[in-house]
Amino acid sequence: MTPIHDRFTPLQRALHWLMAICILAMLFIGVGMVSTVRPDYLSLVSIHKPLGIVILVLALIRLVVRLMRGAPPLPASMPEPMKLAARLSHLAFYLLMIGLPLIGWGMLSAADYPVVVFGINLPHILPHSNGLHTLLWNAHRVLALCFFALIVVHLAAALLHALVRRDGVFQAMAPWR
């Protein structure tokens, strides 16, 4: 299932960098929109919802590609705890990329807000419930902040591989050849 190659496929790299831009923008939009009463609030909310659905779709495509094409092996020089951290962080990324949009969608459903994305009324995926809304709203907020923290650590680790360890891990996902 996992062919041996030393880089992610071009499709995987394209998905990674496209999603990196989408997700970072999403997190900045999220914390920015809830901080203001200015008209920007509505503009940001109107980007946040469709962008969330775009990220969900891209993440599902990416998951399928990952399951089909696998990932290059981590270098033998990496200590085991570092390898474990890398694998766990990838698992966390997939859970968050798929889970956060679903939690947001579920939260809006539980609040009985219409969920309109690209002019389409999406169905409610959960019943109208104050308890569910509260649970999901808290989860959306806390997990989004965790997602940002994970991205910061991921970026620092990537730069460490690129600049200090120079072990090919960064090159495996680098956008260039």
């Binding site: 997190l27 920015g32 009463v37 200015r38 509505l42 219409p114 104050n130 308890g131």
Partner: protein, 353 residues
């Protein structure tokens, strides 16, 4: 790939670079979130300022906290379809959920003590497209900007400075028209006799893609019975709920939806400025209220009448209030829905749909 040795000096430079990148990213995030800008007017700041001195009534809306639910229909005559392609403005009958309410953060305020009466509305078209609105009986709004609204809340709640309201009114001359209405306008004895106004301007877009700035009002079919505040005080703390329940029980209550179309140059960004009386008015249909339900188990309780939930064919204008209201209503909604246990549903009543 084999490790390549690196000098300790270049490693140090690399680590510094990584630290700089991390700090810059985190700082940009904190700035965007407003964590470095305590002066930014946040939705939560406005909602906090609405709370009375004893704190908010948990489980309730943070403003317009006293209210009663209704259901009914919007009977559209199709006349406004030329202005907007919104599905509920095409001729037809559309189900409605709404809420009569009082502009107070106290759900137990005596009815005669609250000047502003409101109506929250949700009209649903086939396919689930919604139009939500929240209107009040004042003919114009109190202030021109959300910032001024926050200043008004601060001045009204300022117990340390007896001149706070005087100073606010002096700094905000546009407040005068609203103050004159609040102090001198007529009172009625019934939710059914009030005219409810959008105050904010919105843009309607028709099927041909033409935009029109509009405001709208619900004009009551019931003849207003003018009463004095003293007469109202004698009627008991909850006379409005009893009155509307009794009226709707006897017969459906009706309002005409009147859409007022702006002339070019009419002020759309400032809800303190009324448009001249001669502006074109389109009667779009009739709101029919068929049933009243107490709020604790009523269908309006857990709805957010966010005025930016708009169908295709309607969108916000340059009026800054709908955005600010949407942001603040969301905070109020998030807080009160998390406080369910403080405002119990009655076990015998039906759950909200």
């Amino acid at each position: 790939m084999a490790d390549r040795p690196t000098s300790s000096a270049s490693t140090f430079r690399s680590l510094v670079l990584i630290a700089v990148v991390v700090v810059a990213l985190v700082a940009a995030f904190a700035f965007t979130a407003g964590w470095l800008s305590p002066a930014r007017l946040r939705p939560a700041t406005i909602v906090n300022a609405l709370a009375p001195p004893g704190g908010p009534a948990l489980g309730h809306r943070r403003n317009h906290a006293k209210g009663i639910c209704f259901t009914g229909s919007f009977e559209s005559n199709g006349a406004a379809a030329a202005l907007s392609k919104a599905p509920m403005l095409a001729a037809g009958s559309y189900p409605v959920t709404g809420r009569f309410n009082l502009g107070t953060p106290d759900p137990n305020a005596p009815d005669a003590t609250v000047r502003v009466r409101g109506l929250g509305l949700r009209v649903v078209a086939p396919g689930g497209t919604e139009w939500r609105a929240a209107m009040i009986n004042a003919p114009i709004f109190a202030v021109s900007t959300p910032e001024a609204f926050y200043d008004l809340l601060k001045a009204a709640g300022d117990k340390s400075d007896p001149d706070a309201m005087k100073n606010f009114a002096a700094a905000h001359p546009e407040f005068g028209a609203f103050a004159a209405w609040a102090g001198g306008g007529t009172w009625t004895g019934s939710y059914a006799q009030e005219r409810y106004n959008s105050l904010n301007s919105f843009i309607f877009t028709n099927a041909a893609g033409q935009d029109q700035a509009v405001r709208w009002s619900l004009v009551p079919a019931a003849q207003p019975e003018v009463v004095t505040p003293d007469q109202l005080k004698a009627r008991g703390d909850d006379f409005l709920d009893a009155d509307i329940t009794q009226r709707v029980h006897s017969a459906p209550q009706r309002w005409t939806l009147v859409v007022t179309v702006a002339n070019p140059g009419d002020p759309t960004a400032d809800p303190t400025k009324a448009w001249p009386e001669d502006r074109r008015k389109v009667e779009a249909g009739t709101l029919v209220v068929n049933a009243i339900e107490p709020e604790p188990d009523g269908p309006c309780r857990d709805l957010n009448f966010d005025p930016t939930v708009l169908p295709p064919g309607m969108h916000v204008s340059d009026d800054p209030f709908p955005a600010a209201r949407s942001a603040a209503y969301a905070v109020s909604f998030n807080r009160r829905t998390a406080e369910d246990k403080d405002y119990p549903h009655h076990p015998a009543g039906g759950a909200t749909p």
